[in-house]
């Protein structure tokens, strides 16, 4: 079948390109990846007025054809026909923010110079007019020599005219040969762009802009940070409280599915593989979906409203201290819920080295899956006494563990920035877009595409690894009277692992628990519980609780070392899988695993021996 013509949407960041893309394609869009890079490819189908179909692709926002980020490189390569896996477009829709026309025109002129058929969408004309800027599109069209259509993407104004113009453009001109490199330097073009925008300006009246009023609060030296903390507080409250019910439904659903399968199938390996392996494994990961969606809802709304750049502005100085930019703040914060969405959120960081460093330290932020482990160990070993009124020792230890992770992340960032991710910092230079009310439709599309990425991974990588883990725990089958867990391959690996972790105070049970903890950290507690329950045959009443078991079998130094291990612990398989995906290879996930393992080992060892010598 012949491929439909390809039309590319291109423009500066914040020109309202995605909203226009959504308005043109509706829900008929696909999100993929360009091969070899972590740049998303958004494409959709559009029927022209004469019925011909075209494929519309939304290229990443760029400031010029000289790329300074992987996103911008894709945009340039597609436009020059040099991007693998992508045809050269047959026509371009160049999107300009009418209010920023003096700046955006320069890139538009570079794009017109490429020689492809072009239509200019003069977007957000309503906002420009509210700001007191009235433009004459006919002057622009005459001077630039291409059609100019005023649009308001969010209100679907000008969309029909744009599509009609596109119908006239596509297929009329033969695609020109790939053009030479841009001929004029940026400053000359910029000056021409400014002169042209002046010529096209009908009237410009300064008005009191409401987003300036918002900024004087959001960026205020005192109220700005207070507002930021308040927003974050609401966000984290929501991540935990709103997700409770949906998590319950997912858990119930998987339990019902497991029960149904058990009812239908005879006991055997296939059933065990499906219930204990696939369903239990995928279920353990899918319960994170509600938290991930809520977190991304906040992130998308904050991003679309324009607030995110303000948060980055406020936090930049602090992040610069460890060689990162303000952009790293939100991904790191998200990692307190779960490192998986946190690492996915690093896509907003332009600079590759900044981004990589942020990915590598994200697992040090204490994720919610570690909380059950902390809670039970602290409950068993740390006395519940008050240090000062209203401040309990247990709470202090918990806070200490969180702080330990943050300090560890900052130290790691400092060291990484001087070694493996060394390089010129791209600094922090960012356009601060106008505030906007996020549109439900755009947020919903963004949310759906994040969910799809997560679900796809849960269905492939994670399902596969949990099956492997299940196999390790189920084979070879133990003879009667022996513990299956101990007899299995995993049990034998644990015996080998014990030799390694013995010097830092870990016993055989902990070594065994570390293996399933790779799948999901909170499983560590359950694994220890299972091992003790199986061993506990003489105690027929089964009255001994897990806490009693722990107190009986672990020394305090061991418990403290175990906690410290989990602060730095090589993270779960989901995190490793998402790191592999976001860094396009095994190199960085393996490095991450190695450095976290060494750090966890050393820190747990130090804790164990200090505690032992202190006579605890």
């Amino acid at each position: 079948m012949e491929m439909p013509p390809l039309v590319a949407m291109v423009g500066n960041p914040n020109a309202g390109k995605s909203a226009l893309f959504n308005a043109l394609t509706g829900a008929r869009q696909k999100v993929g990846n360009y091969p070899g890079v972590t740049v998303e490819r958004h494409s959709g189908r559009l029927a022209l007025d004469d019925g011909r179909p075209v494929e519309l692709v939304d290229l990443p926002g760029a400031y010029s054809l000289e790329p300074s980020s992987p996103d911008e490189r894709v945009t340039r390569d597609v436009l020059l026909g040099a991007q693998s896996g992508e045809r050269r477009p047959d026509a371009l829709v160049v999107v300009l923010d009418a209010a920023n026309i003096d700046n955006h025109l320069r890139f538009a002129m570079q794009l017109i110079a490429l020689g492809l058929p072009v239509v200019i969408a003069l977007n957000m004309v309503d906002l420009a007019e509210r700001d007191g800027l009235v433009l004459d599109p006919t002057v622009l069209a005459r001077e630039l020599g291409v059609p100019v259509v005023p649009t308001v993407a969010v209100r679907r104004r000008g969309i029909d005219t744009l599509r009609a113009t596109l119908t006239g453009l596509v297929g009329t001109a033969a695609a020109p040969a790939a053009p030479a490199a841009p001929v004029e330097d940026i400053r000359t073009l910029q000056r021409r762009a400014r002169a042209l925008s002046k010529a096209a300006t009908v009237s410009e009246t300064p008005t009191r802009r409401w987003h300036h009023a918002l900024d004087s609060v959001a960026l205020h030296p005192v109220f700005g940070p207070i507002l930021l903390v308040a927003l974050l507080f609401v966000m984290f409250q929501a991540v935990f409280s709103w997700s409770e019910a949906p998590i319950g439904w997912i858990e119930d659903g998987f339990t019902a599915l497991e029960a149904a399968l058990k009812g239908m199938m005879p006991d055997g390996f296939l059933r065990s593989l499906l219930t204990d392996g696939v369903i239990a494994g995928v279920g353990a990961v899918l319960v994170f979906l509600p938290q991930i969606l809520i977190l991304f809802l906040f992130i998308l709304v904050l991003e679309a409203s324009g607030y995110m750049v303000r948060a980055a502005f406020l936090m930049d100085r602090m992040m610069a201290g460890v060689g990162l930019s303000g952009r790293a703040f939100i991904p790191l914060l998200s990692s307190f819920a779960c490192a998986v969405p946190g690492i996915m959120a690093t896509r907003t960081i332009e600079d590759e080295k900044d981004r990589l460093t942020t990915i590598l330290i994200a697992p040090l932020m204490t994720c919610s899956a570690r909380l059950p482990v902390y809670t039970i160990i602290i409950g068993a070993f740390i006395p519940a006494r008050q240090v000062v009124p209203f401040v309990g020792l247990q709470g202090l230890v918990l806070l200490g563990l969180y702080l330990m992770g943050i300090v560890g992340a900052f130290v790691a960032a400092l060291l990484l920035r001087r070694t493996v991710t060394k390089g010129e910092s791209s600094g922090f230079m960012m356009e601060m877009p106008k505030y906007q009310l996020p549109r439900l439709h755009d947020v919903a599309i963004g949310l759906w595409s994040r969910a799809a990425i997560f679900l796809k991974r849960a269905g492939t990588t994670i399902a596969l690894t949990t099956v492997v883990l299940w196999a390790l725990l189920s084979f070879p089958q133990a003879p009667a009277g022996q513990s299956q867990v101990e007899y299995s391959v995993a049990g034998r690996i644990a015996s080998g692992l014990e030799v390694i972790v013995r010097p830092i105070g870990f016993n055989h049970d902990i070594a065994l628990a570390l293996i399933p903890a790779m799948a999901a950290r909170e499983v560590a507690v359950a694994a220890i519980g299972t091992a003790y329950a199986i061993d506990d045959t003489e105690d027929a009443s089964g009255a001994k609780s897990l806490v009693d078991h722990l107190r009986g079998r672990w020394s305090l130094p061991t418990a403290l070392a175990f906690l410290m291990w989990f602060v730095f612990a090589p993270q779960c398989i989901s995190t490793i899988a998402v790191t592999r995906r976001e860094t396009n290879g095994w190199r960085w996930p393996v490095f991450m695993l190695a450095y976290l393992f060494v750090t966890a080992y050393v820190m747990a060892g130090i804790t164990f021996w200090l505690a032992t010598f202190a006579g605890l």
């Binding site: 700046n103 320069r106 400053r187 910029q190 930049d316 100085r317 010129e424 600094g427 601060m432």
Partner: protein, 87 residues
């Protein structure tokens, strides 16, 4: 008469004009992005906000855009106060 100062020290909300940019103090990608954002001699500029935590970035108005810059970059941009606005 105009007084030469940098964008780093320009008082807030003081209308000014970019005089000259010391490109040698900037890294190549920084310099390019700065040009792409429209910084050029003769362009009106204004400081809107300064982040107070330590010496945080500066938010300024260039043309019709608001742009955040780190202090060292802002320091490389020499500006002069518009005689009319200075009065």
């Amino acid at each position: 008469m105009t007084t030469p100062i940098s964008l780093e020290t320009l008082p807030r909300h003081q209308a000014a004009i970019v005089d000259d940019i010391d490109w040698s103090r900037l890294a190549t990608p920084e310099a390019r992005r700065l040009r792409e954002l429209g910084f050029d001699s003769g362009v009106p500029v204004q400081v809107l906000h300064r982040a107070r935590l330590g010496a945080g970035p500066v938010a300024c108005r260039i043309g019709r855009m608001t742009v955040a810059l780190r202090r060292p970059v802002a320091g490389a941009i020499r500006v002069s106060i518009e005689p009319l606005a200075a009065e």
